[in-house]
């Protein structure tokens, strides 16, 4: 206890120097928390964007459908599977789709696209596509021979609202099938995949086009929370058959999202290490200077029986107390800034095109994962403890006579 008291008193001896050190630790940590807040915020929004716009949380297909997109790979035991999924915990909504590769065009231009047949009533409960209609309207149940496409695709094939486009594909039986569709809506999501290479028609129209009858290719499930996915996955294993169905999470469907997250977090970790080194050196400098200034005093303390171990502990305690103050300041500052920008957001409107490939939002609401904060603090503590060993060791190794009679 006396050592702790001494540590506090020693820190108070040079308040300005101690304050600067605490500030260095605090600002460094606050900056890291904000950086994580920015990154976690962006990444979480990106995950949610992908889930809400495209994939839902989990999809169920016939085995191999995701890879091949073969029209004949309809969902086995569709009705019982649907019924059972509905009863699973955490399921907030679900919808069915038919999906195929297709050709869209006019007499002049054509493009390869991913054609999706959606059930408008349930689709809007699972994905947000409806909110991105920029011209015209979203599909309604019973809309036969009507399509919606992305604005970039419309531009590429030079069509506008109300125009007729032809969509052709290979039907389930292998024959070529095609119809003319009227453009009912044009959407703009900011995602290149959606805006440039996707077209939507109603599920009924798609079943008609592909000759599917009542069958579908995809069940899209939306859960009430993203972190309920593991629970849901273990539950659905009981329902579907391992070799006839494939169950894919959003992140297996769009692996590039987590790859991007890993990559961006690697960059932050590099910055984190650099900041940590700066913080560490700043603490070491302070403590080392205070040790050198106190050579005589520490010498007298050792002469009257203080052990080197006690001196080392004293110096380590001083480092630790400085650090704790810094961490407290950093946590407070970091969370305040992160909270503030979590409310007002940080907008990057001019970066829309750059972000469109990655499903990022142009407004980031900072939000920090506690895990990242704990991790940063642990790294800080471990690293500065190591760095703090040096002045402590130097102090403990002092010989009292040399320290007392030093010129």
């Amino acid at each position: 206890m006396l050592l702790l008291k001494l540590a506090f008193l020693n820190i108070g001896r040079n308040p300005r120097r101690s304050a600067i050190t605490v500030l260095a630790v605090g600002v460094g940590l606050a900056a890291l928390i904000f950086l994580w807040g920015f990154s976690d915020g962006t990444n979480n929004q990106m995950r949610e964007n992908v889930i809400r716009l495209l994939t839902g949380h989990v999809q169920i297909h016939a085995a191999d459908f995701q890879k091949t997109l073969s029209a004949e790979l309809i969902i086995p035991d569709r009705i019982p599977v649907l019924e059972k999924i509905k009863a699973l915990p955490h399921v907030s909504s679900m919808t069915e789709r038919a999906k195929c590769e297709a050709l869209i065009g006019t007499s002049e231009k054509s493009r390869g696209i991913l054609l999706t047949g959606i059930d408008p009533t349930s689709e809007i409960l699972v994905t947000d596509l409806k909110n991105y209609i920029k011209e015209g309207e979203f599909l309604l149940p019973g809309d036969e021979r009507k399509a919606i496409i992305g604005d970039r695709l419309a531009e590429k094939i030079q069509v506008g609202l109300g125009d007729k486009v032809v969509i052709m594909t290979q039907a389930m039986d292998g024959t070529l099938s095609g119809y003319a569709y009227q453009l009912k809506g044009i959407f703009h999501t900011g995602s290149q995949t959606l805006d440039e290479v996707s077209a939507y028609i109603t599920l009924n129209s798609a079943q008609d086009l592909l000759g599917l009858g009542e069958e579908t290719h995809e069940i899209v499930v939306r859960l009430n929370r993203r972190d309920a996915i593991p629970t849901f996955l273990s539950a659905i294993k009981e329902i579907v058959s391992q070799d006839q169905h494939e169950v894919l999470t959003w992140n297996e469907i769009m692996p590039e999202v987590e790859q991007w997250v890993d990559w961006s977090e690697a960059i932050i970790r590099t910055i984190l290490m650099a900041v940590m080194i700066v913080i560490g050196v700043s603490i070491m400098n302070t403590v080392l200077m205070s040790v050198l200034e106190r050579t005589r005093e520490l010498g007298v303390m050792m002469a009257i029986g203080t052990t080197p171990g006690q001196v080392i502990r004293l110096i380590l305690l001083e480092t630790f107390v400085l650090e704790l103050f810094g961490i407290a300041l950093g946590l407070l500052g970091g969370y305040l800034v992160t909270f503030y920008f979590g409310q007002v957001g940080i907008a990057f409107p001019e970066l829309e095109r750059a972000f469109s490939r990655s499903y990022m939002s142009t407004v980031t609401y900072t939000h920090v994962e506690p895990f990242h904060v704990v991790q940063s603090i642990l790294i800080l503590l471990i690293m500065t403890s190591f760095i703090g060993l040096y002045p402590a060791w130097k102090a403990g190794r002092m010989e009292p006579i040399k320290a007392i009679y030093r010129p």
């Binding site: 006396l2 001494l6 008193l9 020693n10 108070g12 001896r13 005589r296 005093e297 007298v300 303390m301 050792m302 002469a303 009257i304 029986g305 203080t306 052990t307 080197p308 006690q310 009292p400 006579i401 007392i404 009679y405």
Partner: protein
């Protein structure tokens, strides 16, 4: 049996392997009896500080042996020396004896804390000694709020609060004016007489030597004139 026995002790300082060795002490033998009040004198560089440091377990002799209360200290490991300094020795240096961040009474208590004496007992003993030393008005002051003489008094209190076998003082009055220095030495002499505390102190000052029972004179690291010193006392 003497409290301190210094047998044929030589201390050689050699800065570097190629520099000329300095014989700070050369074959010195001294015995200090319990309850003695002994001065070590001699010109600057004669080895006074070196002798005190060796007896105080702050340094080891190059040759010869030193025993403290019958225990040979020359061969003990560093850790044991630290414990010996804590339990058997009281130090009073020339200046800056006190831990500057602690108050007078905390400085006195510090040694007891090192000895793991309970907080209650610590306070009790420290207060008691401060009253005896008439420094109870100073207890809550920090060193920079005290005069040098006051600081040295607190240092004396700290040096004897744990009842060491011997108290070593190296030029402990050198930074005090004559009056304060004499008062401090007379106070030590009084403690010596009343409480039988053994003191060994190094000094340049003839006035301080006069108070000693016995004077050990050093010159160039050698013991001289011990008999004459005793005569001075008579």
């Amino acid at each position: 049996m003497p409290i301190v026995q210094v047998n044929n002790v030589t201390k050689v300082f050699k800065e570097r392997s190629n520099s000329i060795p300095v014989y700070a002490l050369a074959s010195v033998s001294i015995e200090i009896e319990e309850g003695a009040f002994t001065a070590v004198c001699g010109p600057s560089g004669s080895g006074k500080t070196t002798l005190l440091n060796l007896i105080g377990c702050l340094d080891r002799p190059t040759e010869g042996t030193i025993t403290l209360g019958g225990e040979a200290i020359s061969s003990l490991p560093q850790r044991k020396l630290s414990a010996l300094r804590l339990n058997k020795i009281g130090f009073i240096f020339q200046e800056y004896n006190l831990i500057p961040t602690l108050t007078a009474i905390e400085n006195v208590e510090y040694v007891l804390w090192l000895q793991k004496v309970s907080a209650h007992e610590r306070r009790k003993r420290a207060i008691e000694i401060c009253q005896r030393f008439k420094i109870d008005k100073l207890v809550n002051r920090r060193p920079f709020q005290m005069s040098r003489g006051q600081q040295q008094r607190v240092a004396v209190a700290r040096a004897i609060v744990h009842k060491p076998s011997i108290v070593l003082g190296d030029e402990l009055t050198a930074n005090l004016d004559h009056k304060t220095g004499t008062e401090l030495m007379e106070f030590l002499r009084e403690l010596n007489e009343k409480e039988n505390i053994t003191f060994l102190y190094a000094t340049h000052d003839p006035a301080m030597m006069k108070l000693a029972h016995r004077i050990i004179s050093l010159q160039d690291g050698k013991l001289i004139n011990e008999k004459a010193a005793i005569q001075t006392d008579l």
